[in-house]
Structures are given as C-alpha cells and as structure tokens.
C-alpha cells in the first residue's frame, strides 16, 4: 500500500449519543452556520471527520413524515469552549427535512450528537504544499483543515452563485473563488484553474470535498499528474459508525463503508468517484 493509502487519523467518539446545546444558527448567504456546545465530546476532532446530528425535540413530522434517522455533518470548526467541552460549527445546506429542521433550531435547544466519526484528512507529507479544493457545501471540512494549517494552505473554492459564495468569507482573504455565474471571483468551475495550479506545483497535496462530478474531475487531474490527493466523500447514511453497511462506495478493494473506512479516501483507492 502506498503512503497515501495508510489509514488517515481518527479521534475516537464516546459510544453513545449525547446532548449538545445549540448556541445559535447564523444565516450565511445560502447556508446556515449552526453553532453548538458539545459538553463532553473529545476536544480534537480531525478535520474531515463528521458527526451524526438530530434535533433533540421533534425530529420527525416534517415533509413526508421525515426525518427519522440522524444526519451526517462534517464540523467546519472546533474550538475549546471556555466553560468546558468543545464548541462546534456546522455549515448546513437546506436540501430536505433533516437539514431544514436543524436550521430551525433555537439557542438553548438540544442537539443530539454522536461523534466525531470516521477517518479524517491525513496531514500532508512534509515539504508538500496543501491545496484545498472545495465545491459548494463541500467546503465545510476544508474550513477546519485550513484553520489547522494556519494559512500555509492554498484554497480554491467554487460555488453556484453569489449567495453560496458567502461561505468563502470563512476562509479569509487568501481564498481563490470561482462561481458558475461569475457573480463572485472568476467565472467557471473550480476545476478550470485547478490544472494550472497543479502544473505550477507538482509537490502539492490536494484535499478535496464537493459534488461527485467535481471530485471525479479532481481525482482524474491529480492522477494524470501523479499528485497525491485525498477526497472527502458523501454517502447516504443510517448509523455513521459502521453498523448498517448502508453507506458503501466502490473502491479498488471492493465496497467500503464511507462512515468508517472514510469519509476521507486516498484518491488512488478509487477507480472513479461514483
């Protein structure tokens, strides 16, 4: 196995769902930024790991008598809380009953939380330059990686429109922004400037998260150039801790569970991103 296929880092989670306190939900363009205080969770979740979230009250009874199962979300930021525990930020896109309900939560309400789960990003090999490539809501796990790298990482993020591009603020001024409607930054897809970036620095290590089509393009471009690349995948999940075998993705070693073998996979573990 190549170094890039070695198991990425993971911080262990307590083996039970716990109650976190909602601090607030801030509207950020097309997204919601949900902040909650996790009283007893481990302080150092790895960037790229995720949490299973559910509202403490009325999780259910939404559109189509859903949601029922918890929902998976990467933390966008984790910081020690002065009063103890960890304060977590989640960047949410309202795409259905679960994300909708979470976006409704009020300060002080209960957020049911399990995590951190899965395998996060591995630190890049010394001497390589981290290049974070994000698309849409996929920027979430890259945000905490960016914080961890304290600005030594290049950031290239693409969004559908002006409203979505609001999330780019969270990376600070250094980030290069591309939008499909040209309303912010360059017009186009994030993969267009990526080629030049990669050619400019063969020593880069790419960390990517976003829609499948984008991830597949990133995987392909890196593979062509022999550049190391880590991809954070998504998949429909029921449990998030390996219990249901529902979240599998096809890898070179057969089906693997995104929630325990991922969500971060070395690009060379995938023949293609489904």
């Amino acid at each position: 196995m190549t170094a890039s296929a070695a198991e990425p880092q993971r911080t262990l989670a307590p083996p039970e769902r716990r109650v976190a306190e909602v601090r607030g939900v801030r509207r950020l363009g097309a997204y919601d930024l949900l902040t909650a205080r996790d009283p007893v969770g481990p302080p150092g979740p790895r960037p790229g790991q995720f949490y299973m979230l559910a509202a403490g009250d009325r999780w259910g009874g939404g559109a189509g008598e859903r949601p029922f199962l918890p929902r998976a979300f990467s933390h966008a930021s984790a910081r020690p809380h002065p009063g103890g525990g960890v304060e977590l930020d989640f960047l949410l896109e309202d795409v259905g009953p679960g994300t909708h309900r979470l976006g409704e939560l009020q300060p002080g309400e209960a957020l049911m939380l399990l995590g951190p789960l899965g395998a996060g990003f591995r630190s890049p090999a010394p001497g390589t330059r981290p290049l974070l490539v994000g698309g849409g809501i996929g920027v979430a796990p890259l945000l905490c990686l960016h914080q961890e790298r304290r600005g030594d990482a290049q950031v290239l993020v693409g969004f559908r429109s002006h409203g979505h591009a609001a999330a780019a603020e969270l990376f600070g001024p250094g980030a290069r922004v591309v939008t499909e409607d040209g309303s912010v930054g360059t017009l186009g897809l994030v993969t267009e400037p990526l080629g030049a970036e990669l050619d400019a620095d063969p020593a880069a290590t790419v960390f990517a998260c976003g829609p499948p089509a984008m991830l597949e393009a990133v995987r392909f471009m890196c593979a062509q150039r022999g550049i190391e690349c880590q991809l954070a995948l998504e998949s429909g999940m029921a449990c998030g801790f390996g219990a249901c075998f529902g979240c599998v993705v096809e890898t070179v070693d057969g089906y693997r569970r995104v929630c325990v073998d991922g969500p971060v996979f070395a690009a060379n573990q995938l023949e293609r991103v489904p």
Partner: protein, 296 residues
C-alpha cells in the same frame, strides 16, 4: 436470565446485521467494551461463500423507519472464523452467530463450522432475509423450514435459534414446524419486503430494486406476529421489530417474548440497547412490565 440454556445478564440483544461490534470498536475504542449496550451479541449473517453485498444505494428513509438492501455482505465462513470470530470473542457478552445457507449442505457446513468453535454460545438460522430470494421462500413455509432445521440439527449441540420470515401467512405454523424439527428458540420479525422510487426518475431507488422495511413502522406487525407465535410454541422467543423504548420491549415480553432485540434504533444511538434495558428494568421494578392481567 437463561435463553435456550445460555446465561445472560439481561434480555436485550442486538438484531442481527444492525451492529458491527468490530467497526464500532474502531469508532469508539475500548469504551465500547466498558459500556457494551447488549446482553448478548448477535453477528451479522454469515454465508458459506464471501459476499460483496448489493450495489448502492442501499438505504431509504421511510416514515418512522427505513428500507435497506444491504444484501448480506460478509467474509464467508472461512473469513469469519479466521478474522472476525477472534475479535468477537473479546466482547464482554455471549456470542450468537447468525448463518444462512442457500441449500441444506451449505447450511450443514455453516452450522458445523460455527458450532464447533467454543467462542460461540448459540447459533441463529436466518431463513427469512428478504434480500435473498430463497430466504423468503424457506422461512415462509412450514415444510421448507422444518426441512432446513432438520438438516442441521444434529450438526451442533449448541442451542439453535430460527429467525422466522414475516412474509408468512401463518408465522405460528412455521414456528411450530421449527420447534418440532429441533429449534431451541425462534426469533422474529425480520424486515418486511418494501421498495421506494427515486423522487425524480421514479426508477427503484435501491440498487437491488427492493429491500426490507424496519423500525417503528413495523412494530405493530411484529408485536402481532410475536403474540401469534407465542400461542403456538413452547420454546423461547426473541422478539424484535421497531423496538425503541423500554415500553416497547415490555410490550414484546408481555406478548410472549423471553428476550428482545434492538435493530434500527441502534442506528439513531449506539447506546440504545443500554437505554432500553434500563427503561425495561425500571418498568419491571415498578411492576409495570408484566402485570398479572397481561396478554400471557
């Protein structure tokens, strides 16, 4: 308590295929063993040959439940015995291994191979998995079921649970057939065959086309089947199907179950089994779990 001759510290098991203790240990570390949520651990169903399982997507969220089309992925008997069994033997509770064979010789080989290992306390015969065609047929038919049980009964001295199919017109008859063929207990229900379509394309959502419905949505059906099976058999019953609280567990016990299994609820909280056991104990303490005038 005693379940088919095996001593358990309580009546709450996991439902087969809904908790992977090995993966959970990777996620939760040793804390999982210190606060293990079940009184016995039931493995995911093991088949003779290794299986990759069904193509994704494998999950659909239904009202008060879910549909799965996992398709019994497993390492096969040899892989299970060499890789999984040693790890599962480290769990703090008795081990029940679920097996499924596509014919009697496969079944016999599985029961013999698994039964021979002292780490194994009990076996569960899955004749009812709706994701594998034969499963439905065998478990839905008394003759097929008794033939399957008879084919393996003398291959192990360990207690044998038979997991019934909910698709049978008369689960009591199938349970009786299993008992007469030598089953030490029966477990039910397995998932109900169901499907869902892609909201835009209206093609089947699940990679396998259809799957099995589980969760609170099926609880009423499960409770009725447990009650009707309890009227027909003397062997212990492991009841399951949408159990999400101590109240639910107490209902299944009152309907005739000797133990209960928690499946889908563990997906919402890995510690659900422990919570349910505590709630059930509290009800029993208050004498509200098996009131004298209850069903049994």
């Amino acid at each position: 308590m005693d379940l088919c001759g095996v001593e358990l510290e309580g009546p709450v098991l996991n439902a087969s295929g809904t908790f992977d203790a090995i993966a959970a240990r990777r996620a939760f570390g040793d804390a999982l063993l210190e606060r293990f949520p079940f009184h016995a651990f039931v493995s995911k169903t093991v088949t003779l040959a290794a299986r990759e399982g069904n193509p994704p997507p494998r999950l659909w969220e239904a009202p008060a439940g879910m549909i799965n089309s996992i398709g019994l992925p497993n390492k096969g008997l040899a892989g299970f015995l060499s890789n999984d069994l040693p790890e599962l033997a480290g769990l703090p509770v008795p081990l029940i291994v679920s097996v499924m064979g596509f014919d009697h010789s496969e079944l016999a080989a599985l029961v013999e191979g698994v039964g021979a290992r002292e780490e194994v306390a009990m076996l569960e015969l899955n004749v009812s998995c709706p994701n594998v065609e034969t499963g439905v047929l065998v478990g839905a038919d008394p003759l097929e079921t008794s033939a399957a049980v008879a084919a393996v009964r003398d291959r192990t001295s360990k207690p044998l649970l038979v997991k019934l199919s909910p698709s049978s017109v008369d689960p009591g008859a199938v349970a009786l057939a299993a008992q007469e063929a030598g089953a030490d207990g029966v477990s039910l229900i397995n998932t109900l065959k169901g499907t869902a379509l892609h909201p835009q394309t209206r093609r089947p959502w699940l990679g396998a086309g259809s799957g099995g419905l589980s969760g609170p949505a099926v609880r009423a059906v499960a409770l009725e089947q447990v009650r009707s099976v309890a009227d027909r058999v003397a062997v212990p019953i492991v009841g399951m199907g949408g159990i999400a609280s101590g109240q639910d567990a107490a209902d299944f016990m009152a309907a005739g179950a000797h133990a209960v299994a928690v499946g889908t609820e563990s997906f919402r909280d890995p510690a659900a089994g422990a919570r349910i056991a505590a709630e059930l104990a509290a009800l029993e303490g208050a004498g509200r779990a098996h009131p004298p005038q209850a069903v049994r």
